[in-house]
Symmetry: C2
Subunit: 345 residues, 2 copies
């Protein structure tokens, strides 16, 4: 008998709020018969939507929260003044073990700060890191972290990201000894900044990590490693630059198929193929980033995610909750950090 | 009467060497009747190609150089041991004012190091920065620097990049007061690392620079600014990640149009449209990065550039030589650096 997995959802977060989140929960509940969801937010808003989308009432609980964290609110202010926000209450439910994981599409900075405040990181970890799946040319995916929670990471932090990424990938993807690469501006050992070079040495000296060397920006999509490790500054910029050029390309394609009657006709004929391409490139399938290093599972959905995207973030939460990823990370990180040389802290 | 523009070409550099470079020179000479090219390299290799591609002999000079810098050679070793390399000799010709600019598709690190050694940077600049045009969604382009010559840039260096990018864009694009944005992980003032935040303050306090604020990775392609300024680490990763995802997308499109008879037929019918899309997305049209901060014009072509791409890099050299970009940068940078507060060096 499969055990029940319980997930809390910040039902008010994100650009679209409950109107996208509630139907996404419906999708996830259809997919997983042993899933139970706690919808956190304003009950008078949520109850009609639960009815509208015919969510199974025996597997959905409404949990009240009177406040909402704004998408552009300062994390420190959200932490101080929004103690009854849907985000905060959803995380509280992880803390008191009512649920095994929570999902939010809300303000990233506030989610990182609140998760850290409520759930705490493991002793040797300063701040959570954001990890997400990224598509590869061969049609698979790899994981990459940090995508923007940490700025100015030290070599030891980069080392921690590598350990956490390795543990998550091994657990979730069933890949023994995932290949770890450090994001750099070249593959030669003499290239890069001081932090990256020192992190490379720490990783190379750690047998439990399958460190394979430096990778460059275009290697992210080549699938040459299973985990790409980087500072949150570089990671966030790589991710957003990729989003930007992808939009540029899809815009060009649309423009050209709309230029004149013949092109439009070609577009119509090629429509099934274009739909398949669109489907295969749909970012929704990679939605659901995980905040690693916390003593609990918190999944961040893209703020602008659609129903399919948010459902995918719930999927990620279910998998990580079932694999008990935080527990595995806690064990590994404390062991390996003890073995590290203490200079270069 | 238009003056003659003389350009030296490292004819042995790049992944494909003279077989791509010589026909590209042919294209550039056709385009510009007042262009004269000095082809630097091994004459016994170059002479037959000059004949094969029927280059106009009155506008091409062969200049001997016995050595070639390897694509993966250590810059320091190239500098020490390859004093008669095609790259070095092509740069020497800029130094002794035989030519007004040089173009190389060779080893980037060696090109930066050799250019700096031979031509020198302006007194207040430590290392050249690499700037290149980037496409925007609206069909235009902007410029971005640094793309990888500088790692761990200070706030003052980021400020210098902004000044140089502003001068180049004003001269080459005829844009008065180009809009300058600093690449960051968010647009709010509290986000980012210490260098970026301090650079923002320096730029905001400088009236001669039209600084508009922070931009994010996806803004590169939105055309919201004319120049995106960043550390070479972030810039290189943004550029390569963009290349990587662009390859992934074009690969997916090809795969789907090759999947089964119907898709292939659609692909055939849509071929003219696909060709137009390919043409509009062709990276060759953005080839030709400039090394700014040097007392001379040096243009870096992508190592893997094709004939059209290398010809575009020559085009860039012609424009920058005619506009005398280094002279303009020299004047502006020394003036503005004097006015900067000296703390935070």
């Amino acid at each position: 008998m499969t055990e029940i997995t319980k997930i809390s959802i910040d039902a008010m977060g994100g650009d679209h709020g409950p109107s996208v989140i509630v139907p996404a929960v419906g999708l996830a509940l259809q997919r997983h018969s042993h899933l139970h969801v706690v919808l956190v937010g304003q009950n008078d808003v949520l109850a009609p939507l639960v009815k509208k989308y015919q969510l199974p009432l025996d597997r959905v609980t409404l949990h009240p929260a009177s406040q909402v964290v704004d998408m552009d609110e300062l994390p420190s202010l959200a932490l101080r003044h929004k103690k009854d926000s849907s985000m905060r209450v959803a995380i509280n439910l992880v803390k008191d073990q009512t649920v095994q994981a929570c999902v939010s599409a809300g303000n990233t900075g506030a989610l990182v700060a609140t998760s850290k405040f409520v759930l705490h990181t493991f002793p040797s970890i300063d701040r959570p890191a954001i990890i997400s799946a990224m598509p590869t040319i061969s049609g698979g995916h790899i994981h990459m972290l940090d995508l923007g929670a940490n700025i100015d990471s030290t070599a030891r932090q980069l080392f921690q990201f590598a350990v956490m990424g390795s543990v998550l990938t091994e657990a979730v993807e069933n890949i023994p000894r995932p290949r770890i690469g450090l994001l750099n501006v070249g593959q030669e050992a003499f290239k890069g900044n001081a932090q990256v070079k020192e992190a490379a040495q720490l990783l190379a000296a750690t047998k439990e990590i399958n460190y394979v060397g430096f990778v460059e920006g275009d290697d992210i999509y080549k699938g040459v490693v299973d985990v790409v490790v980087c500072d949150g500054f570089a990671g966030n910029i790589a991710l957003k630059a990729s989003e930007g050029i992808a939009k540029l390309i899809s815009g060009r394609i649309k423009e050209e198929f709309n230029r004149g009657i013949f092109s439009k006709l070609c577009g119509l004929i090629a429509l099934p193929v274009m739909h398949r391409i669109k489907h295969r490139l749909d970012p929704a399938q990679y939605n659901g980033a995980s905040l690693l290093g916390l003593q609990g599972t918190v999944i961040k959905s893209h703020g602008g995610a659609n129903v399919k995207g948010f459902a995918q973030a719930i999927e990620e939460a279910v998998i990580e909750a079932r694999k008990n990823v935080p527990h595995r990370i806690g064990e590994k990180i404390e062991q390996l950090m003890k073995e590290l040389p203490t200079h270069g802290q």
